[in-house]
Amino acid sequence: MAKENIIVKILRYNPEKDKKPFWKKYDLEVDDDSTILDILNEIHWNIDGTLAYRRSCRSSICGSCAMKVNGQNVLACKTPMHKFKGNKLKIEPLPGFSILKDLVVDMDGFFEKMKRIKPYLILDKPIPDKEFIQKPDEFECIRESAICILCGACTSSCPSLWANEDYLGPAALLKAYRFIFDTRDDGKDERIDIINDKNGIWRCHTIFNCMEACPKDIKITEYLSRLKVKVLENSI
């Protein structure tokens, strides 16, 4: 396996010492098929143990390691360093969130918004003895939106959210789509009322940063536009 020299700049911030985040440069040699997470591990384990970042599954399913690399939100474990040309990497925490330490951001607001749209099945009808019957095409409609791993890459990439932190954001709205378009769910009107708000669905200006950032390649903006039509139909 070939080795390669790279220069990594990481935005560091220690709340106990620093007033402002600052850039720190690392020169290191890594395997040429490394992912961003491999590089961070290499730095953390062998060069600078004080670097803080979130990681867990290293197989793009836990959604811990979303961060901004060379100006784009990516999932560190899923992104090979050769996605970016040249041998320079600039790694920053997710934009739009508060920084707790180094690459660790405060996700409380993100999950608070997720809870606001009631991300669970709301039922009026009695629970059937066996399973809920759902036709394949009914499931196909929500299949892609249900695979969201809650990494926050989309919400953090959204310029509407940078300007207004009360905006629900693409991830929460996608979750709303997943339940509103679920044929088993009875909470549609309730959820539509929540997202049909001044900080709701209408703050989506179809900038498509979320769709570019999503590590699961979910067509978020497409689903949000279906939600817009649904909300309109509901209010007529």
Binding site: P15, S98, I99, A163, T206, F208, N209, E222, V229
Partner: protein
């Protein structure tokens, strides 16, 4: 805890959608500016024919003809991107939004060249 106060992350990578959005906002502002100016020019009509003719003479200078060509481009972009946004929001255009953007940009560019030529071709250049 460190909280960023800036409202726009300038060094975030700008994809096609970002450019479309930024240019749409800027062209919108330019159009507001133009419309204000336009109302002011029309307003001079109420101050008698002499005043109006003076203003119109001033606006007939070549520099304003070129600004008009620019205005034509801004209008075309804002109009076509507006249609693109409607297609995205209501006619399932989100998946092919980049394709729609480039097609519309090409159409707008062709119209801009044709219209721009017609706007300046009749100017009598002073030698």
């Amino acid at each position: 805890m460190y909280k960023k106060t800036r409202i726009f992350d300038l060094n975030y990578y700008k994809f096609t959608g970002s450019w479309a959005w930024i240019l749409h906002r800027l062209s919108g502002l330019a159009l507001i500016f133009y419309l204000t100016l336009h109302i002011w020019v029309i307003n001079t009509l109420t101050k008698g024919p002499d005043k109006f003719n003076n203003v119109m003479d001033f606006l007939n200078s070549p520099i304003f003809k070129f600004l008009e060509v620019g205005l034509w481009g801004v209008i075309l972009f804002h109009a076509f991107n507006g249609v693109r946004i409607i297609i995205i929001d209501f006619f399932k255009g989100a998946i092919s939004h980049k394709k729609i953007f480039y097609i519309f940009i090409i159409i707008a560019f062709v119209l801009w060249v044709i219209g721009g030529y017609r706007l300046i071709s009749h100017i009598q250049w002073v030698h």
